[in-house]
Symmetry: C2
C-alpha cells in the first residue's frame, strides 16, 4: 500500500485513474483513444464545455466570470496576468508570502511597476502578513491563497476595492469561498483539479481590454474566451482528467463536502503534531494550511530516521522542500483519511520511542 | 475497424496507447499512476532525459543543438520564437505558404519587422513559392515544412546564410533531413511525436541571447535549457507519450525506415488519385505532402456521397478543411498501410460506379 503525500503532481481519485486509463484505449465507446480524437469534434467539445460548466457550478460563479483551460502551469500565469492587466506605467500590488508569490512578483516587473504591500520573508514565510494597506490606485492586488512550500494559507479574503487576483494552485476547490470576489483566479491543475499540463483560469470579463499593450493571440484571455479555450489545440488529455476529477468532486457533494473532509484530515494531523513534542510545526498556528502540513524535528538525525521509516511504510512525498527542510505532508482532496491515520499512528509510535 | 485519418490530434501506434493506459494505473512498477508522480523524481527525470536523448539520436543532432519539451502548441511558438530572436528594429523573413504560416507572421509582427519573402496565397496556397530572395540582414527565415491544411510540403531546405527556423508540426520525424541546418525547429506534438499539450523545440544555442528584450522566465529558451525542460512542472503525461512514441520509432528503424514506409503509403494514395479522374488533387504535383493528401471532386453532391461512404466504412477524419473543401487524408507515421489500402479500394469502387 502506497500513501502518496506528494505536493504536486499529486494523488487523484482512484476512479479518475481507472476511467482515464480506459479512455486511452477506448474513449466514450468511440473505439478511439482520447489521445487520437480531433479536438474540434462534438465528443471533445463536450469534454471542454462540461469541464467549464462544472467549474462554474462547483464554484458558484456569477455570469460575469469566464472559465478557461489554458496551456502551461501557474508559472505561465505569473507573466500572463500582468501582460493582460498591467500597463507599463501602472502599479500592481503583490503580497510576498512565499516562494511562488516571489516568482509571480519577479515576472510582473517585466510589465509595469510592482508594489509589494507586505512580506513574511523575515521569518522564512512562516506566517501570513496582516494589517497592510493595498494602494487604491493599483490595477490589481495579487496573492497566493495557499503556500505549497511553506505550508501557510490565507483564511480570509482581503477587504479592498482593488481587483483581486489569486494564485489558487494548491487549494482551489478544497474549501468554500466567495469565489466571485476575485477578478481573476488561476491554478495549475496538478493538485486538486487534474494532471499537469493545464491551467484553470477564471476571469471577470469586465477587467479585460483595459491596457494599451498589444498581446500575442495565445496570451490574450479575450481570444481564449471567444474561442471557448479552443484557440489552438488544447491539452486534450489533461482537460479530460480535469473533467473526471470535477465529476468526482460533484458526485461526493461538491466543495462544501470536500471542505468538511479536508478539515477532518488536517485536524487529525495538526492535533497529532501539537500533542507530540518531538515534532515541531513551522507555521504560525492561525495561518496553517489545510493542504500542506509542514513540520520539522529538533534533531536532523532523527528526521532522517523518521523519513526512512515513512519510506518503509510506503509513505512517499513527505520530505520537506529544501528551503524549509523537515517534512511536508500534502493532504489534497483525493487523499484518503486512512492514509492520514496511518501516518499519525506512525508518528505517535515514533514519538513514544523517544 | 476504425481508420483514423485525423489531421491532428491523430493516430499513434497502438502499443503507445496500451503502454500509456497501463502507466496511468501503474507506472514503471512504482505502484503509482504516471499522473501522480512528482516531476522532480528520478523516475520522471528519466522520462524527460530519455525523451531528449532519443530526439537527438533520431534526428542526429550535433552538439550545439538543445532539445526542449515545452508547454503549449505550435501557436505558442508563433510568438515565442520572435520574442526570443527578433529585436524591435530587426527584420524577420517569413514564407507565407499556408494558414499556419500566416498565423506565425501575424504574431511575429508584435515583436519586430516582418518581411514576407513570397506567398502562394494567390492560388489558395496550393503550391510552394520558389525563386524568392531571403534578405541577408534578416534575423532569421521562417517557414512551415509541411502545410497540414493545404497539403503542400517543402521537399528541399532553402539555401541561405540566414538562420533557418521551421515549424515542423506536421512532418517532423517523418522523413530524413539534415536537421542540423536549422537554427530552430518547433513542432506541436500531436501528429508524429505524441499527444496534444506539449511542444518539441530544438534550438542552436548560439542564436540565443542576441536581442535586448527582457523575457518572462517561461518564455526564455535559455532558462528552459538550463533547467532541462523542468523550469516549472512540465506536462508530465504528454512528455511520457512522446517518450513511448520515440521509442517505437527507434524500434522500427528510425527516421529512414519510417520515411520509406511513409513513401509507400503516400505513393499508393497519390497514384490512386492520379488514375481515377473523379478525384482531383488540389496541390501542385511537385509540392505534394506525404503527410496530408488533399483532393476534391467536381460535384459537391458526389463529395457528400463519398464522405458518407467513408463514414460507413469507419474511415474518419477525411473531411477537408473548410478553407479548401473536399477531402484531406492524413498519413502520419503511425498510420498503417492497410488503412490506406482500404481507402484506395473504396475510392476505386466509388469511381467505377460513375
Amino acid at each position: 500500500m502506497i500513501h502518496n503525500f506528494n505536493a504536486g503532481p499529486s494523488i487523484l481519485p482512484r476512479e479518475v485513474f481507472e476511467e482515464a486509463s480506459r479512455a486511452i484505449l477506448n474513449f466514450n465507446d468511440t473505439g478511439l483513444s482520447i489521445l487520437e480524437i480531433g479536438h474540434r469534434t462534438p465528443v471533445f467539445e463536450g469534454v471542454m464545455s462540461e469541464s467549464i460548466s462544472l467549474v462554474k457550478e462547483l464554484m458558484q460563479l456569477d455570469a460575469d466570470k469566464e472559465v478557461m483551460f489554458l496551456h502551461g502551469g501557474a508559472s505561465t500565469q505569473f507573466f500572463q496576468v500582468p501582460m493582460n492587466l498591467l500597463d507599463e506605467q501602472g502599479i500592481a500590488a503583490y503580497l510576498d508570502c512565499g516562494i511562488w508569490g516571489t516568482k509571480a512578483i519577479k515576472e510582473a516587473k517585466h510589465f509595469g511597476q510592482v508594489q509589494v504591500v507586505a512580506s513574511s520573508r523575515d521569518k522564512n514565510y512562516s506566517y501570513i502578513p496582516k494589517g497592510y494597506q493595498i494602494p487604491e490606485k493599483a490595477a490589481y492586488f495579487h496573492y497566493t491563497t495557499n503556500n505549497t512550500v511553506e505550508g501557510t494559507q490565507m483564511h480570509a479574503i482581503p477587504e479592498t476595492s482593488v481587483p483581486l487576483v489569486a494564485d489558487m494552485s494548491s487549494d482551489i476547490l478544497s474549501r468554500t469561498m466567495d469565489f466571485n470576489r476575485f477578478s481573476l483566479i488561476y491554478a495549475g491543475a496538478q493538485k486538486n483539479i487534474g494532471a499537469a499540463g493545464v491551467n484553470l483560469v477564471i476571469v471577470d470579463k469586465n477587467i479585460l481590454g483595459k491596457t494599451s499593450r498589444k498581446l500575442p493571440s495565445m496570451m490574450d484571455y479575450r481570444q481564449h474566451i471567444d474561442n471557448a479555450s479552443m484557440l489552438n489545440t488544447p491539452p486534450v488529455f489533461a482537460v479530460y482528467v480535469c473533467l473526471l476529477t470535477l465529476r468526482w468532486l460533484k458526485k461526493i457533494g461538491g466543495v462544501a463536502a470536500i471542505e468538511k473532509f479536508n478539515n477532518e484530515k488536517s485536524a487529525l494531523l495538526y492535533n497529532t503534531l501539537d500533542t507530540l513534542p518531538i515534532f515541531k510545526p513551522t507555521v504560525a498556528k492561525e495561518d496553517r494550511s489545510q493542504m500542506n502540513v509542514v513540520f520539522v524535528m529538533d534533531d536532523p538525525e532523527r528526521e532522517k530516521e523518521f523519513l526512512q521509516l515513512c519510506k518503509q511504510e510506503g509513505m512517499i512525498g513527505v520530505k520537506g522542500h529544501r528551503s524549509v527542510g523537515g517534512f511536508r505532508v500534502s493532504l489534497y482532496n483525493a487523499m484518503p483519511l486512512s492514509s492520514v491515520q496511518e501516518l499519525t499512528k506512525l508518528m505517535s509510535a515514533f514519538a513514544q520511542k523517544y
